[in-house]
């Protein structure tokens, strides 16, 4: 086997391992979650010229939108990384005799897939590195084809890379250019100079950047922007590997090795890619993190069973947002007032409404919540907050389009529709819903229109119970509003309010009282000893009555609160257990 055939074989092998790794990656991470967290409708290409790295941002968003189509996303990703691999191989072909040359390139390529394990890691870093590398390879190729001004194509590419693909790819391409031009001291100096001079152009031509931003964006941490450590690692890895390969070039010429050492090296050459892939996968793939994001993703997709299934793993995870999503799932599965306390409720009413939180991350879930309830103004309000803080997310745009259409504001709905229609992945949705812009009504629009209150009232921040009451009074058939009101009473121990709503259960057609309502009633009756309470034809189940008796006896027998908690552990899913031991309220309200 000739040496060049060996190299080709290794190349195919490395690409195959890379392909396999990408496939496994896509099978195990959920690309839908990446879209959920990062997808934004891309700007027009022409708008990408308005800021440094703008074209990179536009292209990255287009690629992310393709992750909605799993197979296509996989192919595009592999193509990107594969071409990155081949670009580096071409650029540094002089190092092909180095036994670890292909491993080095493989490692650099693999590092670009790492960010996908962390769903929140901005894909724009990866795309900046990839696109810039492609461009510098093109520049080098052109410079080899011309006889004069060989430095010109590469210099032009560097300028191009900075303004179009941003700082990360720009510096990498400068390093590649410097290392590549090892024969020409002057060209090296020129490219080093350009690495400093080109960012300065952005300071001269526009006043919209600080010095740090011009030179180091997106590696400049601010109070609102934390740079992940992995970003530095990924960014440094590629030039580091290239420098190492260059530095050890002469000592590692494969052809001078003894047969025994050659075998050893072959083993390393073929084994390292597989081992490295396995190690990266093992140490980077955090299944817990995935399942947490999956809860939020499933909630957005209205996959309530998926939410509940994942939530079971995180019963003790202290996130208001997760509690909120879990409670939504319980409602939609018809279980909210039966099994609410089977899932921890340490956030109290915040776990129901999230109204106190002012954070862009929770704006869209709140918009969705009110959307489902049919409370149009609140849904629109929070969707607008989400749009501003999290960008042109397709889901947010859809929410706004429907909300504005329901409110008869077709002009603004059309604007958001036009924006959404720019995204390939969501054109179908846009087409299917185009009729809404002309007054057509679907079930979502109908629900929103049916629930607009006739009489105005203020929503009030941080007073969800008040607004819910007013909303329900305006919409007495709104089951979701009613159940959340009851859940609110359960969370806040208002057993008397629950007792007062028994007639409402009848009006809304409940065939039986939900289990937690029974439990609340039992406590209410115990406290008030009301002999004339009108059950409106409902009967409290014998099971609930017996459980209450057993619970009460066990608590009385136990000496002290701590012992009582242990004694009634089997009732930890009940309302009584919640108010005694789990409620965030410091006191029990008397009704």
């Amino acid at each position: 086997m000739t040496y060049s055939t060996q190299i080709k074989g290794q190349q195919i092998y490395a690409l195959t391992v890379l392909l396999g790794f990408t496939y496994i990656l896509f099978k195990n991470i959920d690309p839908g979650i990446i879209c959920f967290i990062q997808e934004s409708v891309p700007d027009r290409f022409i708008d990408g010229f308005h800021h440094i790295g703008g074209i990179n941002d536009v292209m990255a968003m287009h690629i992310i939108s393709l992750f909605n189509f799993k197979a296509v996303g996989f192919l595009v990703l592999f193509t990107m990384v594969g071409l990155f691999f081949l670009s580096l191989q071409t650029l540094f072909s002089r190092l092909r005799h180095h036994p670890f040359f292909l491993i080095g390139i493989f490692t650099m390529s693999l590092s670009l897939l790492l960010p996908l394990f962390d769903y929140t890691f901005s894909f724009t870093l990866t795309s900046s590195i990839v696109f810039s590398t492609w461009m510098i390879a093109l520049g080098v190729f052109i410079s080899h084809k011309i006889n004069q001004l060989k430095w010109l194509p590469v210099s032009a590419v560097l300028l191009f890379n900075y303004f179009l693909f941003g700082v990360p790819g720009f510096y990498l391409s400068c390093i590649i250019a410097i290392i590549h031009q090892s024969n020409s001291k002057y060209q090296k100096l020129l490219f080093a100079f350009l690495a400093i001079a080109i960012p300065a152009l952005s300071l001269i031509t526009g006043m919209n950047y600080t010095f740090q931003q011009a030179y180091f964006e997106p590696f400049v941490p601010t109070i609102y922007h934390k740079v992940k450590a992995a970003a530095y690692a990924i960014y440094v890895l590629t030039p580091l590997v290239i420098i190492l390969l260059r530095a050890t070039e002469k000592r590692m010429d494969l052809q001078t090795l003894t047969p025994g050492k050659k075998i050893g090296q072959r083993v390393l050459q073929y084994g390292i890619p597989v081992l490295l892939s396995a190690a990266v996968y093992h140490f980077s793939f955090d299944i817990a993190k995935k399942e947490i994001y999956q809860i939020e993703y499933y909630a957005q997709q209205q996959n309530w069973l998926g939410v509940l299934k994942n939530a079971r793993h995180f019963q003790y995870f202290n996130s208001k947002l997760l509690h909120f999503q879990t409670n939504r799932a319980l409602y939609h599965q018809g279980l909210l007032l039966d099994v609410l306390f089977q899932y921890p409720q340490p956030s109290g009413i915040e776990g129901l409404f999230l109204d106190n939180a002012t954070d862009g991350n929770i704006a869209q879930p709140k918009a969705d919540f009110y959307f489902e309830m049919g409370y149009g103004n609140e849904s629109r309000h929070f969707a607008n907050e989400a749009l501003i803080t999290r960008g042109n997310r397709p889901h947010t745009l859809k929410c706004l389009i429907i909300n504005y259409a329901a409110a008869g504001q077709f002009v603004i709905a059309s604007r958001y529709w036009n924006l959404l229609n720019q995204s390939l992945a969501h054109k179908k949705w846009a087409k299917d819903h185009a009729g809404l812009l002309h007054g057509e009504i679907d079930k979502d629009v109908q629900r929103l229109q049916d629930n607009f209150p006739e009489n105005d009232f203020f929503t009030g921040l941080a007073r969800p119970e008040n607004k819910l009451k007013r909303f329900f009074i305006s919409n007495p058939q709104n089951k979701m509003a009613f159940e959340y009101l009851i859940a609110n009473y359960l969370i806040t121990h208002k057993v008397g309010n629950i007792a007062n709503e028994i007639p409402t259960f009848k009006q809304l057609g409940y065939t039986r009282l939900p289990r937690l309502v029974e439990e609340a009633l039992l406590l209410y009756l115990e406290l008030t000893q009301d002999p004339d309470f009108d059950f409106r034809g409902y009967q409290i189940s014998n099971e609930a009555i017996q459980d209450f008796k057993d619970f009460s006896v066990a608590v009385q027998k136990a000496g002290g609160l701590a012992m009582a908690k242990n004694a009634v552990q089997q009732y930890n899913h009940t309302f009584w257990y919640y108010i005694m031991f789990n409620s965030p309220l410091s006191r029990t309200e008397k009704q």
């Binding site: 919209n208 600080t210 607008n384 409110a407 607009f452």
Partner: protein, 512 residues
């Protein structure tokens, strides 16, 4: 070297010839007017305004237009349906034909390659100058959170937009309530909140960063108004609360629990709390008369828990001011809300010192959230209250005057009910207004894609010499604390404005 030069010259000739549009002589007349967007048909335009680029909202294979005024004209071929008017040709045509009509003949080519002419659009070229720049804040249609925000200046002549301050450089803080003194670009200020909180004041060549907050005045300065001399700024200090409606056609409601007006001495860094303007009533939105001898403001009764928001109405008041002694005189009520059964907001006095424009709305003062808000004028000499013809069925707000008092600028949500845009209309000596038109942009499609609000537009006669980096450098300094002028202020124990120990509630929050 000669060959490339020859080729280049040749290419230039071809391109120049290609850009010239041929005259259309063979066409059929159409009766219906063409729909153009933005609507720049049958308006009065200032001679020194840049080209009014527009799109033709009709179906056609190609479009052309013929711009003519006096004995000059030029033809223009649309790029698709976009009429992008060459700056130079426009300027020469319009500026040389003041007090004349600008005719726009619009032609459409159909599928059979036949040309059709729409009825001619006739615009009036006013000889009245308009201030060259407008300064505004870009904010999204959100109410609590923000992310990117900035204050910009837009040239009405070149249609270029320049950032004055953008919060990407200042840790995404909030910037608001900019104000400019008598359209002078040398006297400009705006507030910043959250990170780098303070007030940025540009006074001549100096840029200073001050902190107006104080235990004496309840909150940092909010709504500002520069004295025409540039020596003082009147600020309101407010406890602002925001709430949200539940009915379909309304969004938010902003009201002040309390508000006073204080006076900031720019040269001496002193804040005075005059007793006349720090009563139990809610004094707000100060604005100076052009001669600087009167301070106009709005005032509503003291806040009570039982006050229904629909009953909260502001009257228009005025108080005399002596700049030499910094003393205030007697308060006059110009327009009483109780009599009008309406609320007044954002008063601005015209350069003639006689005409006041303001918003009239059903309640409150934060007119941008009141769809019924309209612009009215009031003449002090004749005491005539008039509704301008510039209004629409949706909100008009924040009116202001050009330096010569002939152009009125305001924001309106007339197009979609959500996003506010800047509009202009001409006002003649009799107070008659022309049809309003939206601020022109370089890209005729600009407004069809723009999803932010134009907030608090102010005129400036020239470009303000500020850019985001200058602002960022100044903001990194610790703001200079203003000194409270106790000797000339009403004490905090007198005056009916109660000082809360709580921090004022922010209308906006950053996204954290």
């Amino acid at each position: 070297m000669r060959k490339p030069l020859k080729y280049t010259f040749f290419v230039i000739i071809i391109l120049t010839l290609a850009s010239c549009s041929k005259e259309i002589t063979d066409f059929q007349n159409t009766e219906t007017e063409a729909t153009i967007y933005p609507d720049y048909a049958h308006i009065a335009i200032p001679f020194n305004m840049g080209p009014l680029n527009f799109t033709v909202q009709e179906q056609g294979k190609a479009f052309k237009s013929h711009f003519r005024a006096g004995n000059k004209s030029f033809w223009l071929r649309a790029r698709g349906n976009r009429m992008v008017i060459p700056q130079g040709k426009w300027e020469r045509l319009v500026s040389n034909n003041k007090e004349d009509t600008l005719f726009i003949d619009l032609f459409r080519k159909d599928e059979q390659n036949e040309w059709h002419k729409y009825p001619t659009i006739a615009n009036w070229i006013s000889r009245d100058l308009i201030d060259e720049f407008i300064v505004y804040r870009k904010i999204p249609p959100a109410n609590v959170l923000w992310n990117e925000m900035g204050i910009y200046q837009h040239s009405l002549k070149t249609l270029k937009t320049y950032p004055i301050s953008i919060n990407q450089l200042t840790d995404h803080n909030c910037m608001n309530c900019h104000s400019i003194s008598a359209s002078s670009p040398d006297r400009f200020m705006f507030h910043m909140r959250a990170k780098y909180g303070g007030t940025m004041i540009k006074y001549g060549e100096t840029l200073k960063f001050i902190d107006t907050s104080s235990d004496y005045i309840g909150s940092a300065g909010a709504y500002p108004s520069w004295h025409p001399s540039g020596k003082f700024i009147a600020f309101s200090v407010n406890r602002i609360n925001q709430d949200f409606h539940s009915v379909k056609d309304k969004i938010a409601y902003v009201q002040d629990k309390y508000s006073d007006i204080v006076l900031y001495d720019v040269g001496n860094n002193l804040i005075t709390r005059p007793q006349e303007l720090a009563t139990g009533a809610r004094e707000n939105l100060p604005t100076w008369s052009p001669d600087g001898k009167q301070l106009y403001f709005i005032s509503a009764p003291k806040s009570t828990d039982s006050t229904n928001y629909r009953d909260l109405r502001y009257s228009l008041l005025r108080i005399g001011f002596d700049p030499a002694t910094k003393s205030f005189g007697k308060i006059d009520t110009i327009l009483d809300a109780g009599t009008l059964k309406k609320s007044i907001s954002f008063p601005r006095i015209a350069p003639d010192n006689n005409t006041i424009c303001f918003c009239l709305l059903d309640y409150g003062y934060f007119s941008i959230y009141n769809p019924e808000s309209d612009i009215y004028t009031y003449r002090l000499d004749s005491k005539k209250l008039e509704k301008t013809e510039a209004n629409s069925s949706d909100v008009e707000s924040y009116p202001s005057w050009s330096q010569n008092g002939r152009w009125m600028m305001f924001v309106s949500k007339r197009e979609d009910g959500i996003l506010s845009k800047v509009y202009f209309c001409h006002m003649d000596e009799q107070g008659k207004t022309s049809k309003p038109f939206v601020a022109p942009q370089r890209d005729p499609d600009f407004y069809s894609r723009y999803l932010l609000n134009f907030n608090r537009p102010e005129f400036s006669s020239a470009r303000i010499d500020l850019n985001p980096r200058k602002v960022w450098r100044a903001a990194r300094e610790i703001p200079l604390k203003t000194v409270f002028d106790e000797a000339n202020s009403v004490t905090i124990t007198t005056g009916a404005t109660s000082l809360s120990m709580e921090q004022p509630e922010e209308i906006y929050k950053s996204d954290r």
